[in-house]
């Protein structure tokens, strides 16, 4: 006879086993590009390819694809590429990595109707930002609100990386979760809880639309909607199960997601909110009432995603945590005003300008702190011990949580 707590454990183990089998099957039989083979690939850009003085480049799986500098490609463009897979080598001809390259393939543009509307929406919003704000601040705002990195130049991106702030501008769950938390926090006092939840979910999906239904945002939207609904209805356990199930389902459909930074951030941030938001609300009495909900949501998401926030981008500075503390309070405000001006920018662009001017000092503050603190980079190489640290961190988090419950 099984004990009460053993049934969910058994179900969880079965689900985990199925997932492991799926991973084994997927990664063993995955079709790989072979050196020397001629390939014909269709590719739709979900982000703008990178470029230097001479060429544009982007990755398809493990292969670097190099195209001439012009014509320029951007989000939503669909291409048919025909070329030969070669091994990527250094200038002196020696092999540098296991990576592959498809150099200057034959390119044919295909009309991509399904993304045309989203492309138009994204462009309109980014242009509205650019037409008022200086480029650095406009790029930062596009990153925070839409998760698009296109407007952020390499220098600024590097500074964001060095300061551990790049997660703020990545299309990921943190942004979605933040939007959901802010909206719910703002309207929860005004309408009934259920209405508030419906409205919040509607806003989450409108936000996903604004970002051009970027796959990471859509995934995060689904997780955040499940998690939030259950949590706000007062069922923490159901919320956790919904999150686990939606995460499981996504990994079953696309196992490659397991290494996707956006997926890791969405999942862990929602996880943090479900577990910690209420605790922080009861503890955080120092925060003004109106901001309390936002503060609790942001902090809970940060606790949940901390290892990924700090390590996901390959490098971390010892100062990252302090810089995050100095800057993160600006993100919800930037997000609210950025969203407002995005909606206005789509309809009557001129109406967006007062909001953009208003958040300019905050954006400038953010960007200056990043610029200055990137000079004090104290790198921490944790590549080899990153996985164990992450595991230890989550075990500790769950342990503290359980101790707290026992104490009650």
């Amino acid at each position: 006879m099984l004990r009460r707590y053993e049934i969910p454990l058994l179900i969880a183990s079965i689900f985990l086993l199925i997932l492991i089998l799926r991973f084994l099957f997927f990664f063993t039989f995955e079709e790989k590009l072979i050196v020397g083979s001629d390939v014909e690939i269709e590719h739709t850009f979900l982000e703008q390819p990178k470029s230097n003085e001479f060429q544009q480049y982007f990755y398809i799986d493990d292969a670097l694809v190099v195209l001439p500098l012009f014509p320029k490609y951007s989000y939503g463009d669909k291409l048919k590429l025909k070329g030969t897979v070669e091994k990527l080598s250094s200038r002196d001809g020696s092999d540098v990595t296991e990576k592959l390259i498809i150099r200057n393939p034959e390119v044919k543009s295909i009309e991509s109707e399904e993304l045309a509307v989203f492309k138009f929406i994204r462009q309109r919003i980014v242009l509205a930002y650019k037409s008022i704000l200086p480029p650095r601040e406009a790029g930062l705002l596009s990153g925070v609100v839409l998760g698009v990195e296109d407007g952020i130049d390499d220098g600024f991106k590097n500074e964001l990386k060095r300061t551990g702030m790049l997660h703020v501008v990545v299309a990921s769950g943190s942004n979605v979760v933040l939007v959901a938390g802010i909206i719910f926090g703002l309207i929860s006092g005004l309408v009934k809880k259920r209405l508030g939840i419906i409205f919040t979910i509607a806003v989450i999906f409108f936000y996903a639309l604004l970002t051009g239904f970027d796959p990471p945002i859509v995934r995060a939207s689904i997780m955040a909607s499940f998690g939030f609904t259950a949590l706000l209805l007062g069922r923490q356990r159901v919320a956790l199960m919904s999150l686990m199930f939606s995460g499981w389902l996504m990994l079953m459909i696309s196992p490659r997601l397991v290494t996707d930074v956006g997926f890791q951030l969405s999942f862990s941030a929602t996880f943090g909110i479900i577990l910690f938001q209420k605790i922080i609300l009861t503890v955080g009495r120092i925060v003004p009432n109106l901001l309390k909900e936002d503060f609790a949501t942001t902090l809970a998401a940060q606790i949940g995603a901390l290892p990924f926030l700090l390590f996901a981008f390959g490098e971390v500075s010892l100062l990252s945590i302090f810089i995050n503390l100095i800057l993160l309070w600006t993100v919800p405000i930037i997000m609210i005003f950025g969203l407002l001006s995005a909606v206005l920018g789509l309809s009557i662009p001129i109406l967006a300008s007062p909001f953009l001017y208003l958040i300019y000092p905050l954006l400038a503050f953010f960007s200056e702190v990043v610029r200055l603190s990137s000079n004090f980079y104290i790198p921490l190489t944790l590549d080899s011990i990153y996985a164990p640290i992450t595991v230890i961190y989550y075990i500790l988090v769950v342990y503290i949580l359980m101790k707290r419950k026992e104490a009650k």
Binding site: S51, E53, F70, K72, P134, P135, D153, L291, Y360, L362
Partner: protein
């Protein structure tokens, strides 16, 4: 009320920034900035509340320089010039056009088959701007005290397909007694043809990023610039500026600055000038 504090604070800072920018930009002094655009050329000028940009560097490279020197509320560039259709001189303008409105655009002739440059011209066309093609002897008058004279190319050099560098515009910026020569990427054999009609100048931008094909001792002997500017990228793969050119500058004991160390900002009252880097 406490929750509104960041917004009120932000508004207060905005007002202070705008007032400060308005005060500093309404002076009558002429400003010329050689922007750090990496490997390329990008020169911003402002006088009498008019903004002029000559060359835009590589893609995305000049926007932050413009944002640093143009007031936040000024989103109009009165004159944009591309000396010739090499990407390190025009590509940065592609995104400048997303952030600023441009009133006038001028360029040289040699751009027939350059894909990216055609994209820039198309973008300008969509904004209702037709390029004005400049040739030797023409002059753009900004106002009574500021003009830009075209020293190169002559008519017979307007159809060069094999070497775009030699169709580069060479411009003399003339603000009262202050003169600056901007040379694009013109080869020295052609640059030296111009020397007979020139005298000592205040500022001279070395041709072709300080390459030895751009400038030689004849150039410096005639122009004797008070300040020479090298516009090149840090650790660029072309080895610009060339060490022979630097040696000539040193031999003539001429002061020079390079954008490899950051923007070079020059302010002139029409007589002397001050420089900041």
């Amino acid at each position: 009320m406490k929750a509104l504090l960041p917004i009120v604070g932000s508004f207060a800072i905005l007002v202070v920034v705008l007032i400060a920018q308005f005060r500093s930009s309404s002076t009558t002094d002429f400003k010329m900035v050689f922007c750090d655009v990496g490997q390329g050329d990008g020169i911003y000028m402002r006088a009498f509340s008019q903004d002029i940009v000559i060359d835009g560097g590589n893609e995305g490279s000049i926007s932050s320089c413009l944002a640093s020197y143009m007031p936040l509320y000024d989103k109009n560039i009165e004159l944009m010039v591309v000396t010739h259709a090499d990407s390190d001189h025009y590509a940065g303008f592609l995104d400048v056009l997303d952030s600023y409105t441009v009133t006038n655009f001028a360029t040289s002739y040699g751009d027939s088959d350059v894909l990216g440059y055609q994209a820039l011209l198309n973008k300008l066309k969509k904004a209702g701007i037709e390029p004005k093609r400049l040739i030797q002897g023409e002059s753009i008058k900004i106002n009574d005290s500021l003009s830009i004279d075209v020293l190169w190319p002559p008519k017979e050099f307007t159809d060069i397909d094999d070497n775009r560098n030699n169709s580069s515009l060479v411009l003399m910026v003339d603000y009262l007694e202050f003169e600056a020569i901007l040379t694009g990427d013109l080869d020295r054999e052609y640059l030296n043809l111009l020397l007979n009609d020139l005298n000592q100048v205040e500022v001279f931008k070395l041709a072709h990023h300080g390459s030895r094909t751009g400038t030689d001792e004849n150039t410096f002997e005639t122009l004797r610039p008070e300040l020479s500017i090298i516009s090149a990228g840090r650790d660029n793969r072309f080895g610009h500026p060339h060490k022979e050119v630097i040696e000539v500058l040193k031999r003539f004991n001429l002061k020079y600055l390079s954008t490899q160390q950051g923007d070079v900002a020059i302010t002139s009252d029409g007589k002397g000038f001050e420089v900041e880097q």
